[in-house]
Symmetry: C2
Subunit: 158 residues, 2 copies
């Protein structure tokens, strides 16, 4: 009747929910949900909104899973991205950052990047869909995704 998400009560439920989702997606492709993969997704869930980079994720995962190797974290992040559990974001700061995917279709968001302090603010932007339709017509191009970044100065830095 309802989507799984409707029953969410607390953080624990949310983790379980996402972890189940990952398990299913992995199984579809013949992959396994290992402790390392579990720990990595855990960290990303625990730090939602943080836009952690690979090294930062590695350091945090290492606390709970000290024997893990950096290459495994790289491989796992790649896998989580393929499984569409997370998204890679490029802030032109020389490394890849990741954020947890929102599995709600309507909750599109993009980033405001402060050129002064580096803060990242998330903005919801449904208004882009108008544009997409127009572009699809004008250029005969089938749009699957988009990435939008706004650069400027945040309120604190003025």
């Amino acid at each position: 009747m309802f989507e799984k998400g409707y029953y969410l009560r607390n953080e624990g439920d949310k983790v379980d929910n996402l972890m189940d989702m990952l398990k299913e997606k992995l199984k579809e492709k013949g992959y396994k949900l290992t402790p390392q993969r579990r720990a990595t997704l855990d960290i990303i869930i625990d730090n939602q909104g943080q836009h952690l980079n690979t090294e930062e994720i590695y350091a945090l995962v290492k606390e709970k899973c000290p024997e893990i190797g950096l290459a495994t974290v790289y491989r796992t992040l790649q896998l989580l991205d393929e499984m569409q559990m997370i998204s890679k974001i490029n802030l032109d700061d020389g490394c890849s950052r990741y954020e947890l995917n929102d599995h709600d279709e309507d909750h599109q968001h993009h980033h405001l990047i402060c050129e002064s302090c580096g803060t990242i603010i998330e903005v919801e932007l449904d208004l882009l869909e108008h544009l997409e339709e127009e572009i699809e017509k004008n250029h005969d191009f089938e749009i699957k995704d988009h990435k939008v970044k706004f650069f400027g100065i945040c309120s604190k830095c003025r």
Copy 2:
């Protein structure tokens, strides 16, 4: 009376015009217009719309300026970017690409990237300015620039 651009007749004029612009901007900051810098900008002008990466630019510049070093090209591209003569574009293909800046305020454009063949199509998008105003109000964020990428499948790949 008119902007310099109004008198443009042909490619040669255009190169001269942009080169003069660069010379001025460099002088403002106390930099010099060296043959290497001149050759690099020349190549980018000659290949407008190509979105060349650093190695490609290096190879082309080397034809006219064989003694140039790769590091110089990197430094020069950085400088041209600072001087706002060119823009760095990141297509998530592991290297930086550059395009000549359009010095016409109204000619904003962004990129459609085909996930199948890698083609880059340029789209004009004035419509984003509405969004910017709204964001500036809602988030008290002063927007200076934005980057938009659309990913999908181009007409040839369908």
